[in-house]
Symmetry: C2
Subunit: 244 residues, 2 copies
């Protein structure tokens, strides 16, 4: 039974995230439907991670098994007409039978886009979080360095998560400004639920002098209550997914 | 009676162009409605040019008169909540009473975005024209130079236009490639109806060896039938509008 490894991109605006849910439009549900039509058998894809409603992906990897064979390199071309405009297959290959999109993932890069302008702009609607007040990007960049390395990120995890370890390693972290667009790019071996959005929200709130501890102290508290707000979903992009 | 000069940006996807039409949603109609609500009097804006259905603007200038006064610099902030997500005011100033958004315009820059990929991508949907076959961008850049300078652009004008002169000057012309995105940027003192879209369509068709004359000869024919197709509206952006 061939296993396929499929790379997608999607605009998350119209979806309630990746994960299949009852009575909600999800990327996984939409993809499963299209794959099942293409293969004429029930197909269920396994994704590299969950994503929240409104979160986008420039690169999202999933795997699935099919009883029928299909030339993998031709799959995106055949699948895309069965998917809505907001989702597209970018590439596909046959994977080893043991390949698992989630468990084998060794790292990810997320990008958080902030449109830093007092006025909204139609091109960034739902594609970046708008922050009206002027950000001190230099200060954000300086402060963000505290996230680098291995830390217990409990303070930067949404309450209610049920996982074994809250220790994650941030490999690299970068802040870029291009006109009114400020992008925070974070590479790590894994991310807790809402981690990047809470990191972004905390950096923004500290930027505006909100009464929050310095980042190293927030990390040390291991308590969500000490970090800043969860920044809006529409600014978050899963940008790259890595495997061995 | 104060005259205002207003700068907008819009995503043209959901509009039947700028110009007011009966029974069609247009940018001008939508703007007039919002301005009339804000000023509590009937307002009618005059735009720097017509745009086709689906064409976008990064910078579109218009003017309007109002009986009431209003602090111009605060107008965008007050107007934007009355406009749909796909249109936003970027800036506003009081203009001299003789200012005319269309007649006083001394130049414009248009950009034509091509997403050059066999597979569609959700981020470029309606925001670039997708060309599946690989373009030779170097060849396009070389050929495009023939548009530079003053020419009779009759061959690059949609049939049915009713204007006095078909002579226009192209000041500069540039082709940039960034990954799969190819952008043709053209600055000129004025543009005929569909001119940039026919220029783009002709460059693309010549790129694929379609039986078309070289650009200088097409220009010399002064006949629309010798140029290539009109490239899709969704790739076109009015990028800048210039005044003395």
């Amino acid at each position: 039974m061939p296993r396929f490894r499929l790379k997608l991109a999607f605009l998350g605006t119209d979806f309630h995230g990746w994960q299949v849910q009852q009575n909600a439009r999800t990327v996984q549900g939409t993809l499963n439907e299209a794959l099942s039509r293409l293969f004429e058998e029930p197909i269920s894809a396994v994704g590299c991670s969950r994503t929240d409603a409104g979160v986008h992906a420039e690169e999202f990897v999933c795997h699935f098994d099919a009883a029928k064979s299909f030339p993998a390199e031709r799959l995106p071309m055949a699948l895309n007409p069965l998917l809505p405009d907001s989702v597209a297959a970018l590439s596909c290959e046959e994977a080893e039978s043991g390949f698992h999109a989630r468990f084998d993932c060794t790292g990810k890069i997320y990008r958080y886009d902030i449109f830093n302008s007092p006025l909204r702009h139609p091109f960034y609607e739902n594609r970046a979080a708008r922050i009206p007040r002027k950000l001190d990007v230099e200060k954000m960049r300086r402060e963000a360095q505290a996230f680098l390395g291995e830390h217990d990120f409990s303070s930067f995890m949404a309450a209610g998560s049920d996982i074994k370890s809250t220790v994650r390693t941030v490999f690299s972290l970068d802040l870029q400004q291009k006109g009114d667009l400020v992008s925070l790019t974070v590479a790590g071996n894994g991310f807790l639920y809402h981690m990047v959005r809470i990191m972004a929200g905390t950096l923004i709130e500290r930027n505006f002098g909100k009464d929050l501890l310095p980042i190293p102290e927030i990390l040390a508290k291991k308590d969500r209550n000490f970090a800043g707000v969860t920044a809006p979903a529409c600014g978050l992009y899963l940008q790259n997914v890595f495997y061995e």
